[in-house]
């Protein structure tokens, strides 16, 4: 992995304040950071530290109160709602802690869904979906609905759904939190493999030590502030690549 990877995400003095009635709650307090491309980056911190809020801001599903957020070179704070939706459809894949698959769609259809949003032709959709099902080892479960899959299988479908459109960034919010350690390890290994194959930037929000141990770039936050930015030696030597 290159040490001089260009930042795919750039935050400059970003503040996010929630209004809870008459009380303002600062979730993110003046954070500036660069997240390089093609890396396995982690946003770590205890519960309530602002990890998910930061991930939401990067994922363009929440707006900063102030500051500037650039994703893939685009100042996303200036984009109107529809343009943001289109931007997410093209550039960002999401993996959620609770898998969040569409329950009425089969594994195949869940993976195919993001490709419909970018208007991909049917033949190409089919080819990519089948390839992705194969890549996550769920070819045999293609027709099964989420309620017929195990937790690990659901998360594999979620990963496949996030990666099938070959996004620039995949954002994963506590992806192993609902999995046992063995399944979590398998999921982490799979994401690592696919990140290497697709050269996608993975950004995690987690406090799972098993996952953090695979980090190539770590951003530690607490109380909405960036405490530390760490690049493990393994990452600089390309040990994870």
């Amino acid at each position: 992995m290159s040490e001089a990877a260009a930042p795919v995400v750039r935050l400059q003095h970003v503040v996010k304040t929630y209004h809870a009635g008459a009380v303002d709650v600062a979730a993110i307090r003046d954070i500036s950071l660069d997240i390089p491309a093609h890396r396995f980056s982690m946003i770590v911190g205890p519960s309530g530290s602002g990890k998910t809020t930061l991930l939401n801001l990067i994922g363009c599903i929440d707006a900063a109160t102030s500051g500037r957020i650039e994703v893939c070179g685009e100042d996303v704070g200036r984009l109107p709602d529809n343009a943001l939706a289109d931007f997410r459809a093209r550039n960002i894949g999401f993996i959620f802690q609770a898998f969040s698959l569409v329950p009425v769609l089969s594994a195949y259809e869940n993976i195919e869904y993001p490709l419909l949003l970018v208007g991909m032709p049917a033949a190409e959709r089919r080819r990519r979906t089948l390839a992705m099902l194969d890549a996550v080892g769920l070819a045999a479960q293609a027709r099964q609905r989420p309620n017929e899959l195990s937790g690990g299988q659901k998360q594999r479908v979620a990963i496949a759904r996030a990666l099938v459109k070959q996004p620039t960034i995949v954002l994963a919010d506590e992806p192993t939190a609902n999995l046992d350690s063995t399944t979590g390890a398998a999921i982490i290994a799979m994401m690592h493999r696919m990140q290497a194959e697709q050269q996608t930037t993975f950004i995690f929000s987690t406090h799972d030590q098993q996952l953090i141990s695979h980090s190539e770039e770590t951003f530690a936050i607490r109380d909405g502030m960036l405490l530390a930015h760490d690049v493990p030696a393994a990452a600089t030597t390309g040990a994870f690549a």
Binding site: I61, N82, I92, S100, Y113, P114
Partner: protein, 466 residues
């Protein structure tokens, strides 16, 4: 994918969808069955009227307002020329099925034969029997009841007429006409004054008929007294062929039908014979407006002192019945609409609440707000369409069952029961299509409110929803 997701989500909450769908389906069925009922009633009612009085009647100006008090004074001059003009008109000719004159008259009917001494006022109408018979065969909607065999007027029997059941009873003709459930009137408490009337009427009748007239000895006879157009008294003898029971008691007690020639003889004597009305029965009711407009044009072009009235104007009761049933139908439609609206809004709101996290997920994946809105509106539309289709099928079944149950009913103004049936949805396509479209549109509109709410949800709030 939009339709696939919508359809599967409808099946996902089967019980809820079933309840909501039932409301829509029952609504559709109720509207179609009741619509079929009133469609049949309107058609049957209209058919009965058109068979009796045609679609349009040409009167002398002022007859409609004042003529009932003096029909003889409102006779149409040269009515046969007017009929020829109408029948020869190239616009009207293809529309007209029957064109025939009628003569209305008022007078006193007396039964002085066989020791009877009864007299009463009558409301008479003179028609051309063969034309009247042809008019009775009009059945544009296929709802006319089968013709009941019975006494009829005949072109070959110019003295022969029919009277109302009440008239027969009052004049003591029950036994002679062999009528059932027809009591004989009690002896008059004040019979003395009738004798001069008896003598006068008989004398008048004899003078009008002359010595050459031969009476039919097998039929009871009535002496009809009326004032001629000139104001002179006149009398004719009517052979009563039978009874034509009328649905309205006042009419039944006063009704006398006779051939036109006899009516004209009574009203105009040896003077110029006129007619109070020229009746037009059209091939199709939908031509009524065009035919009326053309008639008015003809009347205006020829400077005729005539006016045109349609059967609804001549029968205010028809208009009242139509308005009453239309109001009931509207009321039922509104109730059904409100039920469907609330059912769909409730179901879709619950769907949005249950699927808030799913909404957040697909919004995060790049679905626009309009995409969310479209998804829920599609579900509402689809639920409405499926349920309305089921309702249409149910309506077909209910109507088939009722139509084969052999039920009968007494239409307003009718004297006897007729088979009861409903117009099937296929027989009234506008109602079928209108009901289906209205319910689907209602379900779609009802889904719009929750769909908008779903579309406006902030993505992060939706994702946090448990």
């Amino acid at each position: 994918m939009l339709f696939k997701i919508a359809f599967r989500n409808i099946l996902r909450n089967r019980r809820r969808s079933l309840m909501t769908g039932s409301a829509v389906a029952v609504g559709a069925m109720a509207m179609l069955v009741f619509g079929g009922y009133i469609t049949y009633i309107f058609a049957a009612f209209e058919t009965g009227l058109v068979q009796r009085i045609g679609h349009l009647t040409v009167f002398r100006s002022g007859y409609f307002v004042f003529g009932a008090g003096n029909p003889a004074g409102y006779g149409i001059d040269d009515y046969q020329d007017v009929m020829r003009v109408i029948a020869a008109d190239p616009v009207l000719r293809p529309m007209i099925r029957v064109i025939t004159p009628t003569q209305s008259l008022l007078g006193i009917a007396g039964n002085f034969s066989g020791g009877n001494n009864a007299a009463k006022t009558f409301l008479g109408t003179g028609v051309i029997p063969s034309n009247q018979q042809r008019m009775r065969q009009w059945d544009e909607y296929g709802v006319a009841p089968p013709e009941v065999p019975g006494p009829r007027l005949s072109d070959d029997a110019p003295q022969r007429g029919l009277i109302g059941g009440g008239m027969a009873r009052i004049l003591g003709l029950c036994q002679e006409l062999k009528l059932e459930n027809c009591p004989t009137p009690p002896p008059s408490r004040d019979a003395t004054p009738a004798a001069p009337v008896d003598q006068n009427l008989t004398a008048l009748a004899q003078s009008e008929l002359g010595s050459g007239d031969v009476k039919n000895a097998t039929m009871p006879q009535l002496d009809l007294l009326s004032a001629t157009a000139n104001g002179a008294p006149n009398v004719v003898t009517l052979e009563v062929a039978g009874v034509a029971v009328q649905g309205v008691k006042e009419l039944d007690d006063n009704y006398v039908a006779m051939p036109l020639q006899l009516a004209q003889q009574l009203v105009y004597g040896r003077g110029e014979h006129k007619a109070t009305g020229i009746v037009l029965q059209l091939v199709r009711s939908e031509d009524l407006r065009a035919a009326r407009a053309r008639l008015q044009t003809l009347i205006a072009q020829r400077h005729l002192d005539l006016e045109v009235r349609d059967f609804a104007e001549l029968t205010p009761f028809y208009v009242q019945v139509v308005r009453l049933f239309s109001a009931i139908f509207l009321f039922i439609t509104l109730i059904m609409g409100v039920i469907v609206l609330f059912a769909v809004v409730n179901t879709m709101t619950m769907n949005v609440m249950e699927r808030t996290n799913e909404i957040g997920t697909i919004r995060a994946m790049g679905v626009r707000r309009n995409g969310i809105r479209l998804q829920f509106v599609t579900e509402g539309w689809m639920l409405g369409a499926i349920a309305a289709t089921v309702g249409v099928i149910l309506a077909f079944i209910v109507e088939a069952v009722i139509n084969h149950a052999g039920l009968t009913w007494l239409p307003p103004g009718n004297a006897s029961s007729v088979p009861f049936r409903l117009a099937t949805p296929a027989e009234h396509p506008p109602l079928l299509i209108g009901t289906w479209l209205a319910l689907v549109l209602l379900a779609t509109v009802a889904a719009l409110l929750p769909a908008n709410r779903a579309a406006r949800l902030p993505v992060v709030d939706a994702l946090r929803h448990v």
